[in-house]
């Protein structure tokens, strides 16, 4: 670097400028100071116009997390929707059919208030909402589990009731020769007295199987002069069926029978003129027309299926 000079009026000479350490330090200090101020003003200006870099980074993270949170929220919504479907099916279908009262909305959302307090300390509404939502779903699920349990136990007793009702023909259509629809007819007083005919007569070949028409317990199995060999089955719920004029019965008193189980075989015992089954149905100890208690549009194949079902189920009970 070439030398610089300064005119000294006292000596009237040009004197070279000598950079002393002090001056140099001052110059450096001035330079640095100005640079620093420049930099500082730059920072201040930049920060006033643009967000901080690490703020941007944190913000990015925040957005990512919130998106993930939204995904979870939508999953929660889906779960809630499915649960609502289930609750609706429960209330509008199962509970109506099983003759139970639908759960009220207060019952369904029982205990939600307590959990809201737990989440109250969270400052972020997005988290609070989701946590509350999830808690609500959990509570509803607990209620629904209880409800389904209840439904299951009610259904079990109802199923027993449905299975107990006399609902099939005691003689298969395959063996049936003729069904005498003689309920309520007055019998001619051939024997010196007249009586009401309280059942239906199924004419069938000797030794054709006679099936229990519903689940129940054998209350009477004996021979007699009018009914002949007869079996009484009590089905509970007010129903009793009687199967008369059997050639032979193969069940004993107190035995549990299933629908479709063979009770005995067609015969001509007691007050009977020809091989037939005399079938009676009693509801609350009164005779009713058995015709109401079976469907005649069952074809042979279907009937066989029903009978085999009864046989299969009866096996472990014997």
């Amino acid at each position: 670097m070439e030398l610089r000079y300064r005119y000294n009026p006292e000596t009237c000479r040009y004197e070279p400028l000598i950079v002393s350490p002090g001056l140099f330090a001052r110059q450096i200090f001035r330079f640095m100071g100005i640079s620093f101020l420049l930099g500082l003003s730059g920072v201040i200006y930049y920060n006033s116009q643009y967000p901080l870099l690490d703020e941007i980074q944190k913000q990015g993270e925040n957005v990512k997390l919130k998106t993930a949170w939204l995904v979870i929220h939508s999953q929660l919504k889906k779960t809630s929707r499915q649960l609502t479907d289930l609750e609706n099916n429960d209330d509008h279908n199962f509970r109506v059919i099983l003759d139970m009262d639908p759960l009220s909305s207060t019952q369904r959302e029982a205990g939600v208030g307590g959990h809201e307090k737990a989440s109250a300390e969270i400052n972020y509404s997005i988290i609070r909402t989701a946590i509350d939502f999830s808690e609500k779903i959990k509570n509803r699920l607990t209620v629904e589990v209880q409800s389904i349990k209840e439904l299951k136990s009610t259904l079990k007793s109802k199923e027993k009731q449905w299975a107990s009702r006399p609902a099939i023909q005691p003689i298969s259509n395959k063996e049936l020769i003729h069904l005498y629809l003689v309920y309520g007819e007055r019998l001619l007083p051939q024997d010196g007295y007249s009586r009401q005919h309280n059942g239906l007569d199924f004419a069938a070949p000797f030794k054709s199987p006679i099936y229990a028409t519903g689940d129940g317990i054998v209350t009477y199995a004996n021979g007699g002069t009018t009914y002949g060999n007869v079996v009484f089955v009590s089905h509970g719920y007010g129903f009793e069926t009687r199967y008369a004029h059997m050639s032979q019965f193969i069940v004993s008193v107190g035995q549990k029978v299933k629908r479709g189980q063979v009770l005995g075989y067609v015969g001509n015992t007691g007050h009977s003129f020809g091989n037939h089954l005399h079938y009676e149905v009693l509801y609350q100890t009164k005779f009713v027309n058995p015709i109401s208690f079976f469907q005649r549009d069952l074809n042979n194949k279907e009937y066989e299926k029903l009978i085999s079902l009864g046989r299969k189920e009866s096996a472990p009970l014997d």
């Binding site: 070439e2 005119y7 420049l38 930099g39 944190k58 649960l83 059919i97 259904l155 069952l298 079902l309």
Partner: protein, 322 residues
Amino acid sequence: MGDQEFRFNPKTLRYERVRFSFWRTLMTVVSYSAFGFLFFIGLNVVQNLLIETKLEKSLNAENKALTEYKAVLTSQLSESNALLGRLKSDEAELNEKLFEVPAEVTTVEPRNENHLVATGEEQFNDQIAKINHHLTALHAKTKHYNHFFGDRLHVQKKDVPILVNLPSIAPVNDLLADNLVSGFGVRINPFHKGNYHHDGIDIALPKGTQVLASGNGKVANFSMSNLEAGFGNYIEIDHGNGIFTRYSHLERISVTWGQKIKQGQIIGFSGSSGGSVAPHLHYEVIKNGKNIDPLSFIVEGITPAQHRQLALKSKVQNQSLD
């Protein structure tokens, strides 16, 4: 003048005043800027690393909370979903026991509507062509049906009394697909589990729900029976022109013989009398002595979408309630 600077020019052998130099100034500016920039970067780094701003603090806290509670929520969600899955299988089991058919899938997953965007141009054009084709077919069909219904909708004066008396509304308020539990056709008998022809529709109703007359007419017959078989307490209404409706398994009947009935009038209350396994209304429409599907009569007070839902539900070959 003392701070004026000079320099020695060896060519002229004179001291010359240092004048303003562009390059010198530029150099000064550049060096100031460079160091200023260095300071700028340094200060920024210091600020980012050491100083936590208010916003940063709140963001940090929020991010931490979000991460923390995300784990909590995810575990809760998976727990809930597992429980829901178990409940669903329970529900299917109940459904199977009650109706002898597994539960139909009620939730329709939203279709992925973005898949077309993702495919190439060729597939896109393909799809457009398909849609076009479909539209043309629909257009032709619509035209055909328009013609068909146009013919039939031309009501003549002699048809009016018949149409007025048709049992055209549902026999209950707010008939939903949820309530319709068994339709018309071959169904499973709930008592003996064999197939039989179900002559009406079964609408599950809580005991004591109002039952409405579905059309104008006259009470042709009603019967009370406490026998647990048959129709139980039922009402038959004569709508004229050989059309009858029957409302069975009622709990209470509030009409008498020969009474004139207006459409929508309350005629009784539903129950579970007669051969019924559950509280419901068994509704039949009989035309000239033959049972026909009552759903085809229910046209008023119901949207086409609801009717379609009902029709779909009634097609399920399940177990009836009587």
